[in-house]
């Protein structure tokens, strides 16, 4: 009966059984997160194939425990068999538009764990600032951070984030977005960005990474060598979005290169030329990669195990894009309807909830290629003063 006080033997122990723990490893796209939870009188049992499932089960268990008016903790008899629908359930934080202190990132990882997210997509650098302290190129953050003393992530900070995430079964996928979104790289790496021209003279401004210089690829190789070692996850996010061609077009040396390569006036070919080489470099470092959809849209030849990140809502309806990407044989990640930085009045959670990621025309094999999605919290209007209530 409902009004009866909770009865039965007090539960004092939750037994956790993990078949193949892997407690010292890092979570990956293939990690098993399934678990079984059995609650009955005198017995609380959580079993999972891997430690990652046990973490999910513990979160569920904590949510099942209630407290009555007398302050007694109780839990209902229950039998749960649970596993995620999608293996990649991510959250993007942008620490370039506004620096986020470590505590903000760690707090976000906690809340991610409460919600069974398992990927932290760290969009760590971009145009406005470069807070990542590189050991190979210390000048990048020295010149590119908002403040080289107070608005940087040291090597130790980065490891703190990675380990804090790991303990919660969360993968950290770093994004070093190129060739666009790189203005902050310029000051610390002279010669990296394309100088824009006004007629025959340099305008004094810079554009995307300069794709025609050998020095660019030397730099990129060294940087990604470091990044590949620092971040243990198999995947890196290489960006590749929103490359503005105006600056390239203005630069006579680039125009000459275009002619030499027979690219005509199609700067998408130049973009692809860069991305191709970048992907080859990163592959040779033993990493897989995720790229924003433009890389796919612009016909870059990417490895079959590339993951394409669908984010645009305007040009092509995103469901169409999901169909196209998966049809071409690539795996897809969905973010387009989940740009949480685009706030609006009222219960907008409902619109996000109603999204059905597989609502596109395609074969079952295609649908299998949708590995999941990510909610994005771009930082143009977000810092530590408003991150938490905006995101959750």
């Amino acid at each position: 009966a409902e009004d009866e006080p909770p009865s039965g033997t007090p539960c004092t122990q939750l037994l956790v059984f993990v078949a193949t723990p892997g407690c010292d490893g890092f979570p990956s796209l293939d990690s098993k997160e399934n678990y079984k939870l059995s609650v009955s009188e005198g017995s609380l049992l959580l079993s999972a194939d891997a430690i990652w499932g046990a973490l999910r089960g513990l979160e569920t268990f904590s949510q099942l425990v209630g407290r009555d008016e007398n302050g007694t903790y109780y839990i209902n008899k229950t039998e749960i068999v649970d596993f995620p629908r999608f293996p990649h359930r991510g959250l993007l934080l942008d620490t370039s538009r506004h620096y986020l202190p470590l505590r903000a990132i760690l707090e976000t990882l906690d809340v991610m764990a409460y919600n069974k997210f398992n990927v932290f997509h760290w969009h760590i650098v971009d145009d406005p600032s470069f807070p990542y302290e590189s050991s190979t190129f210390p000048e990048l953050s020295k010149q590119g951070a908002f403040n080289a003393m107070t608005h940087v992530y040291t090597a130790s900070d980065v490891q703190t984030v990675i380990e804090y995430a790991r303990l919660r079964g969360i993968r950290v996928i770093a994004e070093f977005d190129t060739p666009g979104h790189t203005l902050s790289w310029g000051p610390g790496a002279p010669g990296l960005l394309t100088p824009c021209y006004l007629g025959r003279e340099p305008a004094g401004t810079y554009g995307p990474i300069n794709p025609i210089l050998n020095s660019t690829y030397k730099f990129v190789t060294s940087l990604f060598q470091e990044v590949s070692t620092v971040f243990p996850d198999f995947f890196l996010h290489l960006g590749g979005d929103e490359v503005d061609f105006t600056c390239w077009k203005s630069n006579p040396k680039i125009r000459a290169f275009m002619k030499e390569m027979g690219f005509g006036e199609d700067y998408k070919k130049l973009e692809s030329f860069y991305i191709q080489r970048l992907l080859d470099i990163v592959s040779s470092l033993g990493k897989g990669f995720i790229v924003w959809q433009e890389v796919f849209d612009n016909g870059v030849k990417v490895r079959p195990d590339t993951i394409v990140h669908v984010w645009k809502e305007n040009s092509t309806p995103y469901m169409e894009e999901m169909a196209n990407v998966t049809k071409a044989g690539y795996r897809a990640l969905l973010s387009a309807p989940w740009y949480l930085n685009r706030i609006s009045y009222g219960q907008d959670w409902m619109a996000a909830y109603k999204v059905e990621p597989l609502e596109f025309e395609g074969s079952p094999e295609q649908k299998d290629r949708v590995v999941g999605g990510e909610a994005c919290m771009w930082g143009e209007y977000v810092d530590v003063t408003n991150l938490t209530p905006r995101l959750w």
């Binding site: 930085n341 685009r342 706030i343 609006s344 009045y345 009222g346 219960q347 209007y381 003063t385 408003n386 938490t388 209530p389 905006r390």
Partner: protein
Amino acid sequence: ELSQLQVVIEAADPGCHSYPHLASSEAYHLTVTEPVAILKADEVWGALRGLETFSQLVHEDDYGSFLVNESEIDDFPRFAHRGILLDTSRHYLPLKSILANLDAMAFNKFNVLHWHIVDDQSFPYQSIYFPELSDKGAYSYNHIYTPTDVGLVIEYARLRGIRVIPEFDTPGHTQSWGKGQRDLLTPCYSGEHPTGSFGPVNPILNTTYDFMTKFYKEISSVFPDAYIHLGGDEVNFDCWKSNPEVREFMRKQGFGIDYAKLESYYIQKILDIVSSYNKGYLVWQEVFDNKAQLKPDTVVQVWMGNNYAHELSSVTGAGFTAILSAPWYLDYISYGQDWKKYYSVEPLNFPGSEKQKKLLIGGEACLWGEFVDATNLTPRLWPRASAVGERLWSSRNVTNLQDAYERLTNHRCRML
């Protein structure tokens, strides 16, 4: 080197032991020069504004030294009523939250806290005469404002030169009142039978007015400001229409089927009750729109978004004072730099004579509480409300968005 800031208050009665009011002088004159800077104001309220300005003039250099430039400032507010509305009924706001907000208001020279304290959802105001109201109407015993709490808010505000104008909104927006005060609300009918649900305050019963007389006696003594906000917005007539006794009353009064007349009948009586306690009142625009007989010093709050300039003309044209909120509903969040649209509002952009324009005494930024509680109030309200604060204090010609942007970015960091 600056060694002293002398504060001189000129009036015989500086006002330190009294409450700020609509006619308080907030003007000040600040002369920063070494070795002694002088802040002169007529009343203490001006001194408070001047101290806020002085604190903003002081800046820190790269070595940690505090600096202030020689300056001569002669300042006074453009509008006398510069308010923020907080809603503690849709979501309870702990005292801490309200007090933090009063601090933020002082940083932005706001001088009115419009406390929309009760509404449909909950009744957190602990009444001395009618304890059942909050006993039954609050979300829980932990979600109330005791007389001490209320006193604290009023004093904390006073020390910052901020008036606290409570709003006890009737006859609509009163669902929570019915829990602790039986027979106050109108029973709704379906055909000949009561449905069990209730509508606005019942305007046909004497008991209603007995209650209101006693209730407003308490409110008038608890809240020292000369004004009380009586609400009067969004009265849904369906329930009244459904009730046979109300229909009978309409007939007897010769109101026909014009329920706006019944609403005005009710409001009239409340206005008279409140006047008898020597309080002035503010009302939402519907009360004026529905042609109730208002005392000449009634303040009409214009909140409806559709063509509010036209409403301002009507209200001031009829000789009433007005305050503007329509373009400043800050609960309506949207992506991007929406502060710009709040900043760009020019309150006097409505057709009217000089005399009429003088009747627009200010405005209020409203943060309705449907989606707001202590977890998100501060970042949602600020610094967006700062745009409204400047619009209400500064001269009409201070409109440059680029300049405002630079000052606002600095000001935001100061507020943190």
